[in-house]
Amino acid sequence: MGRYIVKRIIYMLLTLFIITTITFFLMHSIPGDPLAHMAKNLPEQVKANYYKKYGLDQPVIVQYGKFLKNVFTEGNLGESLRYPGRSVTETVLNNSKVSGRVGVQAISLGIVIGITLGIIAALFRNKWPDYLVMFIAILGVTVPSFIIASLLQYTFTVKFQLLPTTGWGDMKHTILPTIALAFSPIATYARYMRSNVLEVINQDYILTAQAKGVGTFSLITKHILRNAILPVITILGPQIAGIFTGSFVIERIFGIPGLGSYYITSINDRDYTMIIGTTVFYAAIFVVAQLVTDILYGIVDPRIRVSNDNE
């Protein structure tokens, strides 16, 4: 197991390094002047000073070396090109707190409701609760989150005026975005959990337990759930990635000052340092989430551990 984790961490660092490099060179290969928006009408000397300030007068490879050094020694991702004086690292951290709150709420809601629905569907297989859950699951997978978000916004803020349309501050501002974001995790977990429970129910040890006279309740909680819930961990990684990309759209619709809406703004502004910084941050979270998922799965499922140790 130890070797496996070390191997995974090395891979993770390598991946992160490659993503950082690709992002950096991609952003610097864009034709045009990154300072065009403010340096257009300035005197030559001022222009040159601006370029010097951002290190843009040096060759790309030198800029890359500096960038790496700053990132790895002080965690400094540079300064916004659009808004001089605004630190990328600080902005990313501040905005990610907002996104993180909505994201964590959505993932928790998704896991709890999704798993519950999945269990209900499996236990009432081919009866109406099963069909209802599968209907919700199909909606959650096929209807894009921006449509769900718009519908929620329309229903609860325009029709019934229960919640604020947009904005950020109180708990009540987070309710609709959380539900909108949680829709797709709910659907995925419900589908996944349903098939897991159905698989476990047909195992011989469930029959054995029944034959030994285990009651229905403890059969479900102790024998079925414990075995069915473990593989759910594997989809946690992709789910976290899904929450990110969902948040780009949801935050824009609900006017939440989170990292997602900030990322979109910097893309539309062509604020290159900001794009690089945010991308690296997203990639880091994503890669770490994947690593944690893999390690957890290795701990939970002995078969994975064994096959990796034998390699």
Binding site: I18, S150, V158, A241
Partner: protein
């Protein structure tokens, strides 16, 4: 007790001439798959809905009588009526034409994207599986790293760089790492088939490697490939609508379902019907492809062959 009729006690003659006769007509794998798919009502319904959507995308802009980019200042933001079947948008453009024109773009992106990633993935995975050893190891490590980069981040970055306003550059952005999943799957499948006895038997009988690849490896990968294509088409449509939604996709006057939804979302509170039709089309298409994929998976599974 029921009486057994006398003629049940007749002797059954064994005719040696009949021994070689086939009881049922021989059907090929694809005929059998189609026969099984036909019995799956959900899959056939999805197929019908998809055909309707595709046909409407082809003829829809023509039958409405309006050009999709035709601006009409006299009828802005009209609700659906007998004149404009899906209503009009904020520039007075007929939404019926626009929804089907958008369908062309979205469906082309979905199908081409899925085909490109299937072809690239098959070639890549096939090479890795065929050569094995070090080549396989290096190729798969590369895929593993590409695969762990968040997909939409790559798409966003590449569309910023290529300034993706056209279909072509958008397809490049969408498929750049999209083939990795297919490559992994094809490699796994090929390795599994390569180690089976009938391949060994073919080799010992002296069948040429090229013939083994064409006769045995490719047809056996084809079934999983078709299923994966039908699952990845909705993913591409979804990614495209997402890109268009955040303003990196198709630019006006051309449009896609995502771009239409994005434009409609901003005034959803006042004109909900403008979001309804593109949203319905995205959902229907995604749902149909997903359900068709489920059906195909069951129909093409050789283990379920009757």
């Amino acid at each position: 007790m029921e009486a057994i009729p006398k003629d049940k006690f007749r002797r059954v003659e064994i005719d040696s001439k009949e021994a070689e006769k086939m009881a049922r007509p021989q059907i090929s794998y694809w005929q059998d798959a189609w026969r099984r798919l036909k019995t799956n009502k959900v899959a056939i319904l999805s197929l019908i809905i998809l055909s309707l959507i595709i046909i409407m995308s082809i003829i829809g802009p023509i039958i409405s009588g309006y050009e999709y980019e035709e601006v009409d200042p006299k009828s802005l933001n009209q609700p659906p009526s007998s004149e404009h079947w899906f209503g009009t948008d904020e520039l007075g453009r007929d939404l019926f034409s626009r929804v089907w024109q958008a369908g062309r773009v979205s469906i082309i992106i979905g199908i081409t994207g899925a085909l490109i990633s299937a072809i690239v993935g098959t070639i890549y995975g096939g090479i890795a599986a065929y050569f094995g050893g070090k080549v396989d190891n290096i190729m798969m490590r590369i895929v593993e790293i590409l695969y762990s980069i968040p997909y939409l981040l790559v798409v966003i970055l590449v569309s910023i760089v290529t300034d993706s306003k056209s279909l072509g550059s958008m397809l490049i952005a969408l498929t750049l790492t999209g083939w990795c999943g297919t490559a992994r799957m094809v490699r796994g499948q090929m390795l599994q088939i390569k180690s089976q006895e009938y391949i060994m038997a073919a080799e010992t009988l002296g069948v040429k490697p090229s013939k083994i690849i064409i006769r045995h490896l490719i047809p056996n990968v084809l079934n999983v490939l078709i299923v994966s294509i039908s699952f990845s088409i909705p993913n591409y449509i979804f990614s495209e609508s997402f890109l268009s939604f955040i303003g990196l996709g198709i630019q006006p006057p051309n449009t896609s379902w995502g771009a239409l939804a994005s434009a409609a979302q901003q005034k959803f509170i006042f004109y909900p019907y403008q979001l309804f039709f593109p949203g319905l089309m995205i959902a229907l298409t995604m749902l149909s492809f997903t359900l068709l994929g489920d059906g195909l998976r069951d129909a093409l599974d050789p283990r379920l062959r009757e």
